[in-house]
């Protein structure tokens, strides 16, 4: 399943660069920044990406309620087999890189969400002394 990482500023490029330093593998993932895009322009860009192929498509956005999330959902509205995931983080992207060729779309999405959620945690907390 191909993927598009849609983020504010250079976050997507940096996240993908960081993920590839951890898991160096070719994957059909592209990035787009909302820099220099209004909502309709960004949505049109995403729609063009979606229209390149009829297969399953996955979009990861950093903030679901931001222009990235709204644009992705607008573009995906009438397209079957399309997933839009909010809260993109490095574990989510890493899981995509490491499992995109092994799992079907539903299982891949479930694993990505699971890894992304589990990464958000209090790892340590020092009680007051």
């Amino acid at each position: 399943m191909r993927a598009l990482l849609i983020t504010h500023g250079d976050l997507g490029r940096s996240m993908l660069d960081g993920a590839r330093r951890i898991y160096a593998v070719d994957a059909p993932i592209e990035i787009v920044s909302n820099d220099e895009h209004g909502l309709e322009s960004l949505s049109a860009h995403v729609e063009a990406w979606l229209s390149r192929d009829d297969g399953d498509a996955l979009m990861m956005v950093d903030v679901g309620g931001g222009s990235c999330g709204v644009a992705a959902r607008l573009a995906a509205a009438d397209r079957p087999r399309t997933w839009v995931l909010g809260g993109a983080n490095l574990p989510m992207v890493l899981t995509y890189l490491s499992h995109h060729g092994q799992l079907g779309a539903e299982d891949l999405v479930a694993k990505m969400l699971d890894r992304a959620h589990n990464a958000i945690a209090v790892l340590d907390a020092t009680p007051s002394r």
């Binding site: 220099e36 209004g38 679901g64 222009s67």
Partner: protein, 163 residues
């Protein structure tokens, strides 16, 4: 309690507005004045979902917005941010009689027939004309992404004079 901001932003409801504007201004209401969104249930639902539940959103077609803007000015119970996607639409409201002392251009990205006016802000000829007209009517216009960030006065950049 009033209309706390009139903002031009081609992304309409998004993070800069919800977090960057509503929070510092204590705004609890958005008045989105846009022909496309007012007529599109999907866009309305996505924008509504983008805002936290404590922020109320009203969508209105610019043709019918004048009384809603006035109502927002007079509303003692809410602090409202007025949003349009372009300067031309905001200008139509002013021409129709909306009383706006200050208009902020928060987001205007590159698009068809736009020219970069100042760093990162792109306007069409119609937008520039609308802004000059607004300034001529005494409306203060500036470029500012969010409250607290640097303010750039639009008048000298647009070659406009206040009346």
């Amino acid at each position: 309690m009033a209309l706390v901001m009139a903002r031009i932003d081609d992304r309409l409801v998004h993070g800069q507005v919800i977090v960057g504007c509503c929070e510092p201004l204590d705004a609890d209401r958005l008045l989105v004045c846009d022909t496309t969104v007012a007529a599109d249930a999907l866009r309305r639902s996505l924008f509504t979902a983008a805002a936290p539940p404590e922020i109320e959103i009203e969508f209105v077609d610019p043709e019918h917005a004048l009384d809603r803007v006035q109502a927002a000015r007079d509303d003692a119970a809410h602090d409202t941010i007025l949003l349009t996607r372009d300067a031309h639409t905001m200008g139509r409201l002013v021409e129709a009689g909306a009383v706006l002392e200050h208009v902020v251009i928060g987001g205007a990205h590159d698009g068809p027939e736009t020219t970069e006016i100042t760093d990162g802000y792109f306007l069409t000829r119609a937008d520039r004309v609308a802004l000059r007209t607004m300034i001529g009517r005494g409306v203060s216009v500036c470029f500012q992404p969010v409250p607290g960030s640097p303010v750039v006065d639009a008048a000298p950049i647009l070659g406009a004079d206040a009346s």
